[in-house]
């Protein structure tokens, strides 16, 4: 367990930098994590982050294929928004645990 400070707030994160308490998240914090990940957040990004947080809060599993059903962007665009490993990056910025891809 570790702590990090974003936008003047100290938050609890795990060894990979994922939030252990998603309720500590704010949009201001998201901007700073995004900067660390080399992503600049647009309104579309925030819509996506909100979708991910809602999914997580309702106990649904997150997956790449599910993005097509989000009604916000398709998977290709999602890859463009969070280059590299989009689900891992976006969940980190959204302040929720890394998806376990439910075994």
């Amino acid at each position: 367990m570790a702590q990090k400070t974003y936008a003047g707030v100290t938050v609890e994160v795990n060894e990979e930098g994922y939030f252990t308490d998603p309720s500590q998240w704010t949009p201001e914090i998201a901007k700073e994590i995004a900067a660390e990940e080399g992503v600049e957040l647009t309104d579309k990004h925030f819509e996506m982050l909100e979708y991910l947080r809602n999914k997580f809060n309702s106990g649904d599993a997150l997956s790449i294929r599910g993005i097509n059903k989000s009604g916000i962007v398709d998977v290709k665009t999602f890859y463009g928004m969070f280059p590299g490993a989009p689900l891992k990056k976006s969940t980190k910025i959204a302040g929720i645990p890394k998806p376990s891809s439910c075994v």
Binding site: S63, I64, G66, S100, C102, V103
Partner: protein, 411 residues
């Protein structure tokens, strides 16, 4: 008036529940009906053995009716939808079944048509699945005369049924081509959407090590976008391309289309269910078992078996109007064939990743956890007999429903 227990799906979960509930509920008080569109019960773990000629079709099929007990009505029909508000199930043939309690056990199926190009002109010619009997048999025929090339094993995206099966397939393929004296002609690549060989860290390390030892390439974080039949490549969403001569695809999985028509499912048609009580999130008299649910654990037979014990107890609670006393912990127990007559075994739940140790008896075994042994391989082979004769009939097995830490080593 007699009450009605209705079970949708006569696969592993539905059949076990029919057996358990018929023994428990008085026939004068409860009618039990089970509905399935197919007459054949497949031993699905056996599909893995078919492409390599270790099993034949006859080794993995029996009539469903052999496992449904006397006193349970077996109806063969497709299911149209569940009307949860009015406690009714509509069948495709027009019949309407009323229920007091409904168990959904309609499983999961592969959906190759969801990925562009996957079910294209090469389907079952040089692109195969082994999650259906047709795919497994087509592949067995193909392997008999294949002269080698790039063999790519690809998981389209999670969740999939039996997440270790693609690894077992890969280990079997290595052993199979080695035994045929042509391993040097087959370049094997394992392509996965995960960041390692498996989802849980320690098992991933152990299984990743085995891939390396067997000279199998691994490509991670690859989420399948399309199959190019002309160029014979698979592409992911970031544009990465991998060529194949033979593609073994584990396509996207989804729940039965009945779930979506009934408005009970998540984005992939898995029924939204309380992961501990196994009760539907929408209707209190609907319960779910096995692959049909959105449980965050493996879609696997062992999970169904452990869930059946929990569901049995909770149904008794529900019928008698008591609070639920049983809780499912996500327990999963998987034999992993590693080839050459050896196997590994993993045992885990929602909160505890697979750990090394011995199973089921601490310090004794006979099975070894998270390591390759001959005994683990025999365990897998014996399991087919156990499945037909003990498991489906809902009889007791000497394995705890809840995962236990006894026999596991933390460090």
């Amino acid at each position: 008036m007699t009450k009605k227990l209705l079970i949708l799906g006569a696969g592993t979960g539905g059949t076990i529940m029919a057996n358990k509930m018929r023994k428990d509920l008085s026939r004068s008080e409860w009618d039990i009906t089970i509905v399935d569109q197919y007459k054949t019960h497949y031993y699905q773990p056996g599909f893995l053995f078919i492409p390599f000629g270790y099993y034949k079709e006859a080794d993995v099929i029996k009539p469903k009716s052999s496992f449904v007990p006397v006193g349970v009505n077996l109806v063969y029909s497709e299911i149209d939808k569940v009307d949860g508000e009015n406690n009714k199930v509509f069948l495709k043939d027009g019949e309407v079944l009323q229920y007091d309690i409904l168990i959904i056990a309609t499983g999961t199926k592969i959906m190759p048509e969801e990925t562009p190009g996957l079910k294209g002109e090469l389907w079952h010619k040089s692109v195969f699945d082994f999650y259906t009997i047709e795919g497994a048999k087509a592949l067995a025929r193909f392997f008999k005369t294949w002269e080698g090339g790039d063999l790519v094993i690809n998981i389209a995206d999670m969740p999939i049924k039996c997440p270790v099966a693609p690894l077992e397939f890969t280990f079997f393929a290595d052993a199979f081509f080695l035994e045929r004296g042509m391993r040097d002609k087959v370049n094997i690549t394992y392509v996965t959407p995960l960041s390692g060989a498996f989802t849980k860290p320690r098992a991933s390390n152990m299984l990743g090590g085995l891939l390396k030892d067997k000279n199998i390439n691994i490509v991670t974080d690859f989420v399948l976008a399309e199959v190019d039949n002309g160029k014979k490549t698979i592409k992911d969403y970031s544009g990465q391309e991998i060529p194949f001569d033979c593609l073994i695809s584990i396509p996207l999985h989804g729940g039965d289309s009945m779930v979506e028509r009934s408005g009970l499912g998540d984005d992939f048609g898995f029924v939204q269910t309380d992961k501990n009580t196994l009760q539907s999130n929408k209707f209190e008299n609907i319960f779910v078992i096995g692959d049909a649910g959105n449980f965050p654990t493996s879609k696997a037979g062992s999970v169904v078996h452990f869930e059946a014990d929990v569901l049995f107890e909770n149904l008794q609670c529900y019928i008698e109007g008591r609070p639920f006393t049983a809780e499912f912990d996500g327990h999963s127990n998987c034999y992993i064939e590693t080839g050459h007559g050896k196997g590994a075994l993993i045992d885990f739940n929602y909160d505890t990743e697979p750990l090394p140790g011995s199973f089921p008896f601490p310090g004794i075994g006979p099975f070894g956890l998270l390591k390759e042994t001959r005994m683990n391989h025999y365990g897998k082979l014996m399991f087919r007999w156990i499945y037909w004769h003990i498991l489906l009939k809902g009889k007791e097995m000497p394995i705890d429903t809840k995962m236990t830490m006894a026999g596991k080593k933390l460090n």
